[in-house]
Amino acid sequence: MARQPTMTGRLPIILVPLLLGVLLGCPDHAWALQSHGPPEGLYVHQMAHIHFVLALGYLLWDIRRSSFTSMGWRYLQVFCLLMIVWNVLAFTGHAMGVVLEPHHISTVQGYFQSRLLGPLTTTKIIFYITKLDHLVAVPALFFLFIGMRSLYRTVIEHAGEEKK
């Protein structure tokens, strides 16, 4: 038996052509293809960091909620915390990079002799610290590594016990 179209079902059929008609009939710059300026890439990147922080925070909360008690999951929690810290550092570093002018860094004596020129302001010090973000990122990934290894070993041990 063929289904009879209802009023609700017919609504998109009516609205979509109507909307298209209005948009095409009333052209304006706001509705045309939008151009992307130079800061947009930075904004997207920063938003991605925020997104990652939120995702990691959610993961951390969820792991704790899941009541997984093995060492592997504890290492993963440490990884999440460190990665959140790294994201904050990276986010801050990117922001400081915008504030800092090119002449604040001297490369006159070669790249290896590059210096952050004084006087040292808070901005410059924060910039300098954020440049050392690998001191957080590397331990974070290390904890991820030992976390995964611990989980694997637990599985192996468990399988061995079951065999016994």
Binding site: F52, Y111, Q113, L116, L141, L144, F145, M148
Partner: protein, 531 residues
């Protein structure tokens, strides 16, 4: 120069980038191993994808950083200016990818937990199955032993009940609703005189003498489910009757419908006979007392009548009518006095002379007197006297009268058929210490309904004028006076073959002389027995 050297940041950046790649790949490797180890585990799959995305991000970022450092070191910073947007864009893209993968953790856990729960249930079910399988295996292993054990128990129980069924001295039988006998024990067959072959086709119509009793029996069973102390008469194979007391229980099927019965029947014939004999004995005792009283009362006037009649005879001529009438009075009075004397003998009121006697001798004397008369009636006498028969204490004259009475009765029983055989014999039962005298004829026998009355005074089946009905009463009285017992059997069972023979046998059982004193001390001697 103020400021901070950037060399440490360059070194850390380059070393850190390489370390990032290494650690992220090592993490991915273990995630991969986990997925290979447990491919069905949803959580390991999630972690693998997470590590893969993170490795991709690490490679992208580290590669960008290293390229940048090398370009700047080689003084080609302007090239980096061209690459930087791509590197940054790629980093951003992978960063978002990692973030996207990260937030799917919750769903992965849910899927994992769901699978784990199902796996736990399956595991539990498996454990139970394994347990059941183990139990089954154990049961299988010991099944034979258990079967043997149960069979032995069952056999023991069956043997016990079979023993009870087979060895019971009472009749036990199982019947179906069609009134067929399904199974009957040996005692039952023996009681009814059937062989084991007959048992296969036996039914209750053959066993019960009265058909109404069968219907009453089944009606009571179906109404109450049981019967207690139901009195009935069973007919034996040879036609003789036994009295039984039945207790039975109904057998039901699964639907509660009666399908048969199981019954125990106790032979009460002997008890019933004994009861009848007891009643008879009491009756005889009371009749004897009455007869003695009457005899005493009548004896005196009879003596006076006889005396006066004899005196009056002297007053008349022998040819006169009056003299003849007085002779009739005298004769009839004497006959009456004989009856009174018999009554006194029956009631044991008459005196007797006891001495040590030989029954063989007495029986021979009686045969000598009666044989001629018996032969005239075509009756063949068979005398079988036991050697070394113990002597008895008694009145020889009275005992002769006993045997004469019995032989007379035998003669009368065989008169109708024109003769027969008369078996006379003596024997000794050492077990009971009794001297037995047998008088058996091959006459018509005693009907069942009169058996209990034959010892009653004045009871006779002979035509009027042929008997007073006191012969057996007197016999009974004399035997009882001697501390003996008189037994009647009619028809007679052949002791050798067990077959029933036509006729009647009287057995006189008297104590031997040595035991007479003991017997005499007993208040009541013996009672007549009818069989």
């Amino acid at each position: 120069m103020n400021g901070l050297p950037l060399l440490p940041t360059i070194i850390i950046d380059m070393a850190g980038s390489m370390a990032d790649i290494i650690f992220s790949f090592l993490a991915m490797r273990y995630a991969l191993l986990l997925t290979r180890r447990q491919p069905d585990n949803f959580l390991w799959g999630y972690l693998f994808y997470f590590c893969m995305a993170l490795s991709a991000f690490s490679v992208s970022r580290a590669a960008g950083h290293l390229v940048k450092q090398f370009l700047f070191m080689s003084d080609n910073g302007d090239i980096w200016a061209d690459i930087a947007p791509y590197s940054g864009g790629f980093n951003t893209l992978l960063l978002i990818s990692v973030s996207a993968v990260t937030i799917f953790y919750n769903k992965s856990v849910q899927a994992y937990e769901s699978i784990e729960q199902k796996a736990a249930k399956l595991k539990s079910a498996n454990l139970q199955l394994e347990k059941a399988a183990a139990e089954l295996k154990e049961l299988n292993m010991h099944l034979e032993e258990k079967v043997e054990e149960r069979t032995a128990e069952l056999s023991k129980s069956e043997k016990k009940f079979r023993h009870l069924f087979s060895n019971s001295k009472d009749m036990i039988f199982f019947g179906d609703i069609g009134k067929n006998v399904l199974e009957i024990n040996e005692s039952g067959l023996e009681m009814l005189g059937y062989s084991p072959e007959d048992a296969k086709s036996l039914n209750l119509y053959q066993i019960f003498r009265n058909e109404e009793d069968i219907f009453t029996y089944y009606e009571l069973l179906s109404r109450d489910g049981y019967i207690k102390d139901f009195e009935a008469e069973f007919q034996k194979k040879d036609g003789s009757v036994i009295y039984v007391l039945i207790s039975a229980t109904a057998i039901y099927d699964d639907n509660g419908k009666m399908i048969g019965c199981e019954a125990i029947a106790k032979d009460l014939t002997r008890v019933k006979t004994m009861m009848e004999q007891l009643v008879s004995s009491e009756k005889m005792a009371s009749v004897g007392q009455m007869a003695a009283g009457v005899a005493h009362e009548i004896n005196t006037p009879l003596g006076i009548i006889l005396g006066y009649a004899q005196l009056m005879k002297d007053d008349f001529d022998e040819d006169s009518e009056a003299y003849q009438n007085l002779c009739v009075i005298e004769r009839q009075t004497k006959a009456s006095r004989k009856i009174v004397a018999d009554l006194l003998k029956f009631s044991r009121q008459a005196g007797s002379a006891r001495k040590d006697i030989d029954l063989n001798e007495i029986l021979s004397d009686v045969v000598a007197v009666t044989e001629h008369n018996l032969n005239l009636n075509h009756i063949q006498v068979h005398l079988d006297l036991a050697d070394h028969l113990p002597r008895v204490i008694g009145d020889a004259e009275k005992l002769r009268q006993v045997f004469v009475n019995l032989i007379n009765n035998a003669q009368h029983a065989m008169e109708e058929q024109g003769g027969g055989d008369l078996y006379l014999g003596t024997s000794y039962d050492p077990g009971k210490k009794q001297v037995i005298t047998r008088v058996r004829d091959t006459g018509h026998g005693i009907p069942e309904e009169v058996k209990a009355k034959i010892f009653d005074p004045f009871f006779t089946t002979k035509p009027v004028g042929k008997g007073t009905g006191l012969g057996l009463s007197v016999t009974y009285g004399i035997i009882q006076d001697h501390g003996g017992t008189i037994v009647v059997e009619s028809p007679v069972r052949n002791p050798d073959s067990g077959e029933m023979m036509q006729g009647t046998e009287f057995r006189i059982l008297l104590p031997r002389a040595e035991d007479t004193e003991t017997v005499a001390l007993k208040e009541e001697g013996g009672r007549p027995e009818t069989m």
